[in-house]
Amino acid sequence: MKSSEKGPRKGRLRTKMVRRLSGSLALLFALTTLGLVYVALSPTPQTAVAADVSAEQVAAGAQLYANSCITCHGSNLQGVEDRGPSLIGTGQAATYFQVSTGRMPLADHGAQAPRKEPFFNPEEVDQLAAYVQANGGGPVVPDGELQNTDALALGGEMYRLNCASCHNFTGQGGALSQGKYAPNLDPATDEQIYSAMLSGPENMPKFSDGQITPEEKTAIIAFIQNNKQSIDPGGAPLGGFGPAPEGLIAFVVGMSAIVAFTLWMGSRA
């Protein structure tokens, strides 16, 4: 900063009023600069931009909530002890996943909520999700195409690193401790996989956009859906568990065929 002029005029400027004014201006300037620098340098956390939702949607969602969810999740989404968790901050993604896969409303308290026929139609699912989103916000499934079919290799790599340990390398799911399990991915839609990654339902860890970028998420979804539609080598997937059942079948069927053939040859000799 330039130093102010020296000389007789300096004293005239130094009235109390001017001093206060300039001081507060300098403070304002400093704070604004600091704020701008902070905004520029601070990393942006994962923010969810909700799709345009109308007040009618939220109101309809509130009605559905009062009819079907309030018993376990409480009148203000605060959760009920020993019945259901708080929904504040879980956002549209969690609601969409749980309700569209039929896991919620819950039939009974078990080790895990199984996938079943959805209780609500897609429109009602969106209304419920809008209502939960309007109370505390949270992650939101973005609109648009959720599959990036050009990045299958990247999707495969990310899938094997982050998903395959629980969901099996062909998405068949697998067992966890004490009756819990990682579900089979065969019936899952793009939106359901995306919302599961964002919200971490049941015992699945959350995968925020900072950990797996949206591009990587769409690549993972493309890899999963591509796997489902691929023609199985040899025609039968044998459960999708790889070499163990394949080797068993090869040994049992193949060896039986060889033994039967040799016996037949011997009987004809």
């Binding site: 690193l161 629980c166 990682a182 015992n203 959350k206 950990q211 591509n226 691929s230 000799a269």
Partner: protein, 383 residues
């Protein structure tokens, strides 16, 4: 067909050629068929029935010939088909969204069917040739019982040991015997040196920097602390993780994702989640962030099935379970030691760094575990 006749000769009789005397003149004048019969007779085989199967040129003969050639022709066709498919069939990977996925999916089954079929038909053809074309025969062969005759065994051992005696290999020729031992030992060493090579290196040669003590997480010589990075080298910040998430991180050095002892699980637990830390590892966490080795202490599989509600981390290989809320102690399965915790903090730019290396052994077997010298003592200098 050959029928062996057991007990043809009593044990101990001469089992070489049967007593068949053939003079040179007779041998010269013999036809091919007679020679074949003589050969069988010399081997103690008597042909009860022998002869061509069908009248040459008869319909039955032609039918047999056609049937056998058909198998060999099939062999050739399948082999050529295999070569053609191997060379020209589109074998490049096709996604489920491409039109040529079916062709790609058929590639492997087709080369298996063609080459396998070719081999199978060759085998069937050879069997058919033996059954339909070669002469029809019923043979009887006398079989001897037991071991060789006494005279044969005595004379053979006599021959062998006489050679050994006359060569002087028992009482003399120390140099020769020594060189033979050396030759055997040298060749034996040459055969095993590849396997023994791993034992030659002294793991303690680098002292405090020995690979047994140090992982890539150790701060560099100039004191630079190693950043926690994702698989692609992106450094990790606290806001990258949501509460209730787990990320696999690697040391931010070149090739960091390739080290076998380096993968680390970075957890962010929910706020106000009660967590106990093992004694001596207080302050290793950063807020709600905890970093633990991903290498199972049982046999070194990647422990990565994280149940974010229960805080259990499961190992896929042998179902060991570790409790994140109890200092990562094993609660089920064959693993007997807790996963080592990596001390973490933030650097000046807000990225996670490892404060120091692990303070205990990563992974399964470590012969110093719980023994003298204990971890961190000699030959490692206390840092």
């Amino acid at each position: 067909m050959t029928i062996t006749n057991p007990g043809g000769n009593a044990a101990g009789t001469d089992t070489s050629h049967s007593a068949v005397e053939v003079s040179d003149e007779e041998l010269k004048s013999m036809s091919r068929e007679e020679l074949a019969r003589l050969g069988a007779k010399l081997d103690g085989v008597e042909l009860v029935e022998y002869g061509i199967r069908y009248e040459p040129g008869s319909p039955a003969d032609k039918r047999a010939e056609r049937a056998v050639s058909a198998w060999f022709l099939l062999t050739a066709i399948f082999a050529i088909a295999f070569v053609g498919i191997f060379l020209f069939w589109p074998h490049e990977y096709q996604t489920a969204y491409s039109d040529s996925q079916l062709a790609y999916a058929l590639y492997t089954p087709l080369i298996g069917l063609t080459l396998g079929g070719s081999l199978l038909f060759l085998g069937i053809g050879v069997v058919a040739l033996a059954k339909k074309i070669t002469p029809h025969e019923v043979a009887v062969q006398t079989r001897h019982d037991g071991f060789s005759a006494e005279v044969d065994r005595k004379t053979l051992s006599g021959e062998v040991f006489d050679v050994v005696d006359k060569s002087g290999l028992v009482k003399r020729r120390g140099v020769l015997k020594g060189s033979l031992v050396l030759a055997g030992g040298g060749l034996g060493l040459a055969a095993t040196v590849g396997a023994l090579g791993g034992f030659v290196k002294n793991p303690w040669a680098e002292g405090a920097d020995s690979q047994l003590w140090v992982t890539p997480w150790a701060p560099l010589a100039d004191g630079t602390k190693i950043r926690l990075t994702q698989q692609d080298g992106t450094p990790v910040r606290p806001e990258d993780l949501e509460a209730g998430s787990m990320s696999t991180v690697y040391p931010g050095v070149s090739g960091g994702a390739k080290f076998s002892d380096a993968p680390v699980m970075l957890f962010r637990v929910r706020p106000n989640q009660g967590i106990s830390i093992r004694t001596g590892q207080e302050g290793f966490q950063f807020g709600d962030y905890y970093a633990y080795s991903k290498i199972c202490t049982h046999v070194g599989c990647p422990v990565s099935l994280y149940e974010q509600q229960t805080g259990r981390v499961l190992c896929p290989c042998h179902q060991s379970q570790f409790d994140l809320y109890d200092g990562m102690r094993p609660v089920f399965g064959p693993a007997s030691r807790p996963l080592p915790q990596l001390p973490i903090e933030l650097d000046s730019e807000g990225y996670f760094v490892a404060t120091s290396d692990f303070i205990e052994a990563v992974g399964p077997g470590f012969w110093e575990n719980g023994k003298y010298p204990a971890w961190g003592s000699s030959p490692k200098e206390q840092s």
